[in-house]
Subunit: 449 residues, 2 copies
């Protein structure tokens, strides 16, 4: 009644809040869960989870440490740091356990590393994992997207990076760090040694910290192919991170490790990171650190398990890429991890005319609403809005339950398993329907598991 007499507030009615949407990959997961509850058909290709059960030996190790309730060192337990050092040393990166820092996921460690830098912008590849840019912004740094060379996702083009550094300086800003992903999410490719070496030369020339996210390192489809880590070519300035989330499918355990550079800068960075960690998360969970120490020691049973999971990821990713290719999309053969990154640009005209799709976001929304198919647009990874590239993560197709997932892991030809084949056929149907320009398709009403 008296509202018209209320004076206009002279200040906001509550403290100003950050408007930050939930991470797109996690939001996609929520959407799929909601549609399942509502009984709607789904083809869940959005979420970057490994999609296989935990190995029983990891479960056994966590169980054996379930009584550990005490806080431990901020940087992680000595056995875990030693095991992680061994893991890297076996990959050609000799590592001092004193330079290993553990955290509750490599996501938290990446955040802590960016928080350790007090000044400067951060160069990140375009496309790249959704959280790099969001994290940089949260820490007050400006994320500078830099295109990757064709077919070499995860590493900013060295020439474009050098240009960007010079340009930033001419504008009174400075790029202080560059993030690389080896091998890459979202493209499922692996940059060449030559490109990584050139990237390292640019970083050295311009005093950049290199943060190398190698969480998919053990999932290069060709196990003989070497991962060219910048830690080998610019050891004095490269931090490497990895975790249990991908090759060991323990994303829900939240356990990551970082390998800091040796030398004065690396030791100063370690001290800064440990200081930040002590105020942000104290330590990683003690029982899970124990299981992680076992995992990074790489006993034969886990090595065999990772080998099997690599084979499964490779087979299904290749099959998915083939389905997109058959439907007229541009797609590179996947080389690593469990992602395919097709480009529906060749169908741009029909998508726009038949469905009003102009952007990658339009495309993904249409796929979700019409078919229950969840993929993420390239724009979520830093691509232009009008790019019609999408990230496809087919791991949820491995099975509806652990029995199916174990069967997929054990199968010589997982693509031939009925539930996988059925999903692949459903994908082909959707793509055919999408790209024929027929707008009144009844396909979306078909039920699918």
């Amino acid at each position: 009644m008296s509202a018209q007499h209320t004076p206009a507030p002279s200040r906001p009615l509550h403290p100003p809040l950050r408007d930050l949407p939930v991470s797109p990959t996690l939001a996609a997961d929520d959407t799929i869960a909601r549609r399942r509850r509502e009984g709607l058909p789904v083809l869940p290709l959005g979420f970057g989870e490994a999609g296989i059960p935990l190995h029983p030996a990891l479960v056994r190790e966590l169980t054996s440490a379930a009584d550990r309730g005490a806080y431990g060192p901020v940087a992680g337990s000595a056995p875990l740091r030693a095991a992680a050092a061994g893991y890297w040393s076996r990959r050609g990166l000799p590592t001092d356990p004193g330079l290993v820092v553990c955290g509750p996921g490599s996501k938290a460690l990446l955040f802590g590393l960016l928080m350790s830098l007090t000044d400067g912008d951060v160069a990140i590849p375009a496309p790249s994992w959704v959280s790099y840019a969001a994290q940089a912004s949260l820490t007050g740094a400006k994320p500078v997207f830099i295109a990757t060379p064709p077919g070499e996702g995860g590493v900013p083009s060295p020439a474009l990076l050098a240009d960007a550094v010079v340009r930033a300086r001419s504008q009174g800003r400075s790029i202080r760090a560059v993030i690389v992903t080896l091998p890459d999410n979202p493209t499922g490719t692996l940059a060449s040694e030559a490109t990584v070496r050139r990237l390292c030369a640019v970083a050295r020339e311009h005093d950049l910290l290199i943060i190398s996210d190698e969480i998919y390192r053990d999932l290069v489809h060709d196990p003989d192919r070497k991962v060219p880590s910048p830690a080998a070519y610019a050891p004095e300035r490269t931090v490497v991170t990895t975790a249990l989330s991908k090759h060991l499918a323990a994303g829900g355990w939240r356990l990551g490790v970082a390998r800091l550079p040796d030398g004065p800068f690396g030791r100063a960075l370690r001290a800064s990171l440990v200081g930040v960690a002590s105020e942000m998360w104290s330590s990683a969970p003690a029982p899970i650190q124990h299981a992680a120490a076992y995992a990074f020691a790489e006993p034969p049973e886990l090595v065999a398990h990772v080998d099997r999971s690599r084979g499964l990821h490779a087979a299904v990713a290749r099959a998915v890429a083939a389905r997109f290719s058959d439907a007229g999309a541009r797609v590179r053969p996947p080389e690593a991890a469990f992602y395919v990154y097709p480009d529906l640009g060749p169908h741009r005209e029909v998508l726009q005319e038949a469905h009003g799709i102009r952007t990658g976001a339009d495309l993904c929304e249409f796929l979700l609403e019409r078919y229950g198919m969840c993929v993420l647009p390239g724009s979520a990874f830093g691509e232009p809005d009008d790019a019609l590239r999408v990230r496809v993560a087919p791991t949820r197709l491995y099975g509806e339950d652990d029995e199916q997932r174990r069967a997929a892991l054990a199968a010589l030809d997982p693509v031939a398993l009925p539930w996988v084949a059925e999903s692949l056929d459903r994908l082909s149907e959707i793509l055919a329907d999408l790209t024929t320009g027929v707008t009144a398709s009844g396909l979306h009403t078909a039920a699918i598991a």
Copy 2:
């Protein structure tokens, strides 16, 4: 050889790093561990850990969920959020599970909450837990220390808070949030309902977010005494946090929960916090979430366990306070948690003349170097450098191993247990030696377990 010809660098040789020391409480823990390894005597009173074993039921529950490797919702599992809502509802704070957000420790949640605010300074009590000010600084906010009323640690004096808000505004700044600790670390006291109500009135008048850290809520020594949460008096603007770390001694599990306010502001804050969480830590560890859901449901066996631990903390804290009082320190009777906060100000002259001690940091360094006694200076909690108050955390005296700790939990008179009595006597000896002004004491050479 050619160093003199090296041109001066035109820019730093590496990206500028944050100079942030490791959290003082954790650093003290490292110091004690080092002295033990070196065979030096220690009296570890520095680290704020509960000092009792995990209850077997918690271990059982974690074990039963050890096979959970999948990522879950950012805000936490539905059973955990429902259990936490029940925990608060039983304490007079009816709670919608949709307004509960879980994280890897309440420390991470507090950080995330501060990160959700995009503008403004943060008022914190002086003294207060070491991490509030560090976290505020990391998120770009200025921490504004405000003295607490005598005997009411954890809550900034409402009148001084109002003054500070007005003063900040006159300087073109604005205080947007206030943190309170109920009951309090480091003082071991609990503010009155009247003070909390006045604090809430000031917060409402000036549109402040209230963050109420209630991690010690279940450890008020008198179990009939009510904890006056600001969530009861300013529900529209109060966030409450708690965790498993203190009353259930699961600090190493890293599991905290936050209760967001109901209403439009609370829902906006929840969305912001979940967005920040999704980029900082994804989720809390899934197996530990399962055990936490069991814990927050408060089955009788855990309630009895918390009752026993409360009695142990109260008995030992009272005995420690008495030893300080007997030695001429000013000390309030501890009321909650497991801390004593004595003031050695009455001995200022002798401490300065005999030992050159002028500041709280001097005092703590002397105690550590001379006697292996670790306590933290008031300055670590935001007090003036020259304050001779120290925080004493006697939980490590409960035992050297779980057998002794279980005996301490079960004892009717834990202070009479030989190992506890011996440490208390050692404390009295140290204090007598410290305050007599004899500088060449041989006491520090005595070995002690």
